[in-house]
Symmetry: C2
Subunit: 216 residues, 2 copies
């Protein structure tokens, strides 16, 4: 308590589970649930109850013995903690299939991010509109970043231009990049990069399938 200025970094597995709780709780709320306990959440999501209590404690909420959490309060704490109740504006670079998928995806359901515009260099994509997002020419990127004060960029270009486009984004003062290309980006230390590698997820799936075959 003496050092409350020093923020303890939350473990990444915890951060990744928090939106899963939030998603589940929103569904439970729609089904009329008012109070919910950690063991119930754990049971539904096949997690360890102690882990659930620990994860949720990072948001600052405290459950009550025998009652558990008030679901509205818990959702509020989670949204607040994750920043999902704020509008986190982002620009997308690379309006191909994956980029369009994200634009359409966010139109239907909150992603925690709002894609304000998409950018591309291919003439036949510029002017298109997916999920209410317009595709603009990459030449306008810098001006738009400044105008709308956006600091998050989503990278969905082909791999061979990923590094170049990431550098362009940074030159235009983007501070955080969600990299959905398989490229490994080399960027300055102060830039936040979140890699979502499709490969890595496939690898885990295949390995588990192989292990299960061994067991059978």
């Amino acid at each position: 308590m003496q050092k409350d200025k020093k923020i303890k970094p939350v473990p990444e597995p915890t951060i990744k589970r928090l939106p899963v709780y939030l998603h589940y709780l929103n569904k439970a709320r729609l089904e009329g649930v008012i109070n919910i306990s950690a063991p119930t959440i754990a049971g539904e999501l096949k997690l360890d109850p102690t882990q659930v209590v620990k994860d949720l404690s990072f948001t600052g909420i405290k459950g009550r013995t025998k009652i558990g959490y008030n679901i509205y309060e818990l959702i509020h704490y989670l949204e607040e903690y994750l920043g999902f109740n704020k509008t986190n504006n982002a620009f997308l670079v690379g309006a191909g299939n994956l980029g369009s998928a994200l634009m359409a995806y966010q139109a239907g359901q909150s992603l925690g991010l709002k894609i304000l515009a998409a950018f591309d260099i291919s003439a036949d994509r510029i002017g298109e509109k997916t999920g209410q997002v317009n595709v603009l020419h990459m030449n306008n990127f810098g001006e738009m970043v400044k105008r709308l004060n956006v600091s998050i960029g989503i990278l969905t270009t082909p791999e061979h231009v990923a590094q170049e486009m990431a550098e362009k984004m940074i030159a235009c003062r983007i501070k955080a990049i969600w990299n959905l290309t398989p490229a490994y980006l080399k960027l300055p230390e102060n830039i936040i990069v979140q890699n979502t590698s499709m490969y890595s997820n496939v690898a885990v799936l295949l390995k588990r399938l192989e292990e299960s075959d061994v067991v059978i």
Copy 2:
């Protein structure tokens, strides 16, 4: 060594890093690299060298002092270990934007999976073709699974039908599901599910951005 039948499960973070090494090594190989050391790999990918050595040891390869790994040998071990040198056939269910993105994605670059066909229930998608993958009616799913002996399913439907479609896939003897929907699937214990949540990745990005703002 007495219990060599007992396979020690590999930590998931390791499995997720292995395709990243593989991807990087393939690029280095094209640039003419013959031998590569763990510290070099670690330096390029901003990882701890000890971690790299440990990760790579799971594939069974041994590096040589001062020389490191032969890059061809290392790539071979990684591909073998990850099963990326085999053809891992998969069917995709839900040929919307995200599904199409995956179909197009695998056409250009190996995903470790080969999507043999896609399935949907929407009349205007059936008969379409993306990245050489045909979209068939979901009614044909069971027959096609049997015919082509596929055990991996990729789920890219809208969230509200995800559970139903996953159950249909399992009823047709799919053994592993790569779930790219935000739905939390409730499936029998013996089914392997790999969730790739876009939410979770966004959450990590936002949290890191927030932490960096605190520091600045």
